[in-house]
Amino acid sequence: MTELIRDSLDHCVKCTICESFCPFSQVTPLFPGPKFVGPQAERYRKAGVSPDASVDYCSGCGICTQVCPHDVKIAEINAQARAELWEDRGIPLRNQVIARPSVLGRFGTPVAPLANWALRAKPLRLLAERVLDIHRKAPMPRFAGRTFQRWARSHRSPSTDRSVVYFHACGTNYYEPGVGEMVVAVLEHNGYNVIVPPQDCCGLPLQSNGNFDTARKYVRRLVANLAPYARDGVPIVSNSTSCGLMLKAEAREILGVDDADLKAVGEVTYDLCEFLLLLHERGELKTDLRALPLTVPYHAPCQQRGHGIGKPALDLLALIPDLRVIELDVDCCGIAGTYGLKKEKYEISMAVGERLFRDVRESGAEVAACDSETCRWQITHGTGVPAVHPVELLYRAYGLDWPVKPT
């Protein structure tokens, strides 16, 4: 698989379409663009030789691969080159720290008030910027002070003849457990028994920070936990766009994990909105939706393009009476997972997001919607407008008056 990706560079005809779309090379000369860093520079890379460090300024948003008319796996080539680069030069401490959300979560959750205070205390953020190279203004999420796992252990999902496994990922577990509760409520409302197996990080942040070996360990452990369900034919649903894509494609295509568990899991993994829309197409989605007289700008995250499922949230939200959804025509919010947290990349990330921020602000809306957690935090950071997962709008329209605690 790794070689197939590398070989795809031979299909590059230098048409520059990827260059035209790259949101990052548009705003910074530090990233010369996907064509230069990808198919062109790749010809000069060999084991132990990483001729250019600019590949580290690729965010991995994947838009280049999507728009390429010749099937060159540009983003994948760049992800592998980035890992080689850090293997040669040693992974910085910062990249090791921010790439382990579940470790941070386990430390931060019990001391959430203190941790949240520290994350907002300017002197400490200055210190973190100096010591760890994490930008002082970067949108760090707040610990919820409780975990979704703990809630799920005490929650009894009604037994029905249809089951679904919920892969909630780290963002839901440590920062937004309320979103997880809404996912469970919406799935149960539609007649599903929701299984929440114990689960740890999928390894994606480690992958995008160049630590492929540890990323592989994480994803192998996760799919080993989920595989028994997959083999029983139970679908796996995730509200984390990027972590879901890790299971569907990236672990195999970028990390080169060739594993029967991964294959079994990937084939039955669905993005939450993809899953709900499939239910609707089969006539199985409940449509007892109350009116929500709101205007909501919607941003489809870059990683969702990698799923190749279009924008299922648009069709789902169209089912809610009186809800007006504005499809935002901007490719990237700039955060790209952990990219925008980094001292040297924060300004780039904000410049990439500016068009999106402007469109959200100009919509005058009180709330925006986006499937991906880090993108939501970035949108709120850039606009002051709260951003929700589309499931929250469905949850409200279904009138599910669960005691969901604020996230």
């Binding site: 035209s20 548009q26 000369p29 010749h70 099937d71 829309l277 190749g308």
Partner: protein, 409 residues
């Protein structure tokens, strides 16, 4: 969810058909492997530029084309209607012209491009009336105004000269980087200052086509006003900034009209039954995804775009449906390519043969699929790059297919 129409391909032909149908309230899905050649080529609508020499009146010259040319598959009024629809549908791009007479636009190497319909930002480069032209270089890679001017003057139609402007162009000196700079007032101020006194009375002022991306109309009008001269853009090497404007305008209108775009997905399979296409299968992450529709449009381009594929053994195939191909030369020992690159090549006219509703047929004229229509460079019988007919064919056939499908159910 069943779509009314699925369009395969996101070039001018596919997007035109899709927008035409979305405007009729149809549920349309566009699936494409990637972005099409709008990003590479000038956005001029060249209907017919060359047919036994340079064409002055494209509408009249259509009759000179062979009977099996795609333009002859439908009445010439459809071509005219497509052009009028296009001009009215994208008013911000200010397209001008029609089938009566070609504009003659200078290219970046000082050749001449006959074009029927051109965006307002390029129209001022029309060479038909003669006159004096000055071309402004911005130290843009692959745009050499002296070379352009000399070649153009050599043809004898016009007087032409070149000037170079050295501006703080920022780090990104490529076309898109420059286009973004043109949207900054301070950059335009510096440019106008630099040009004042260097442009002579009576001259038309040509720039490489980088006068802004999203605000090109405003930028162009401002430059005309401040320089007090006609200003125009000359198409550059890729990426084509005015071509990107066209793609962005078409896709934005399509989204507004309720159409859906799935870019980056190969169609890897098709399901057919009883002479109809039932669905196409795209290669989504982890598992193939089936998309159903009542009708389908194939607009995947020709040999250059991969809609028609040639393998290393010389076998030629239509990539999605494995449709029959017309215009294939005999295989027995004849070469597939001639060493004189610019000559008529044996595979030049290869494409999908169609009936008068632009539906694919076998080589003996028998209909293959009653709900599949073909548009753009996938069609047999045209040689767009020699005829100067690329975008004209895409617009006309995309519009025709949209009209046929809209009228039929």
């Amino acid at each position: 969810m069943t779509n009314d129409t699925i369009v395969i391909g996101a070039g001018l032909a596919g997007l035109t058909a899709a927008l035409r149908l979305a405007d009729e309230g149809r549920r349309v899905l566009v699936i494409a492997r990637g972005v099409g050649s709008t990003h590479l080529a000038p956005p001029t609508i060249d209907v017919l530029g060359f047919a036994d020499g340079e064409v002055e009146r494209p509408g009249e010259a259509l009759s000179r084309l062979a009977a099996d040319h795609p333009y002859n598959r439908f009445p010439a009024e459809v071509i005219a209607a497509g052009i009028e629809w296009f001009k009215a549908r994208l008013p911000d791009l200010g397209y001008r012209g029609g089938l009566e007479e070609n504009f003659l636009l200078p290219t970046a190497v000082g050749a001449v491009r006959p074009s029927a319909v051109v965006p307002e930002t390029m129209a001022g480069g029309d060479l038909r009336g003669g006159g004096r032209f000055v071309f402004v270089g911005l130290r843009l890679k692959d745009f050499y105004p002296a070379y352009l001017a000399e070649n153009l003057a050599h043809r004898g139609r016009v007087e032409a000269r070149a000037i170079e402007v050295d501006l703080p162009r920022g780090e990104d000196g490529r076309t898109l980087g420059l286009a973004r700079r043109f949207e900054q007032p301070a950059f335009r101020d510096a440019l106008v200052r630099d040009l004042s006194g260097r442009v002579e009375p009576g001259e038309r002022v040509g720039f490489p086509a980088v006068l802004g991306l999203r605000k090109a109309g405003e930028v162009w009008r401002e430059l005309e006003r401040r320089l007090e001269r006609p200003v125009f853009e000359v198409a550059t090497l890729p990426p084509s900034v005015p071509g990107i404007r066209l793609y962005e305008a078409l896709t934005a209108e399509l989204r507004q009209a309720g159409g859906r775009l799935l870019i980056g997905q190969d169609v890897i399979g098709v399901e057919t039954a009883g002479g109809r296409v039932e669905s196409v299968v795209s290669e989504a992450a982890a598992r193939p995804t089936t998309h159903r529709a009542h009708s389908f449009v194939l607009a995947t381009g020709g040999l250059a775009a991969g809609g028609i594929k040639v393998d290393s053994r010389g076998s030629v195939k239509e990539a999605v449906f494995d449709l029959a191909l017309a215009g294939l030369p005999a295989t027995n020992g004849r070469p597939r390519f001639l060493p004189t690159y610019l000559d008529e090549q044996p595979l030049d006219r290869v494409g999908v043969p169609v009936d008068d509703r632009l539906r694919p047929t076998d080589t003996d004229g028998r209909l293959r699929f009653e709900n599949l229509h073909v548009a753009g460079a996938t069609l047999a019988g045209a040689v767009p790059w020699r005829e100067g007919s690329g975008n004209g064919l895409s617009l006309a056939t995309g519009y025709a297919v949209g009209t046929i499908i809209a009228g039929s159910s």
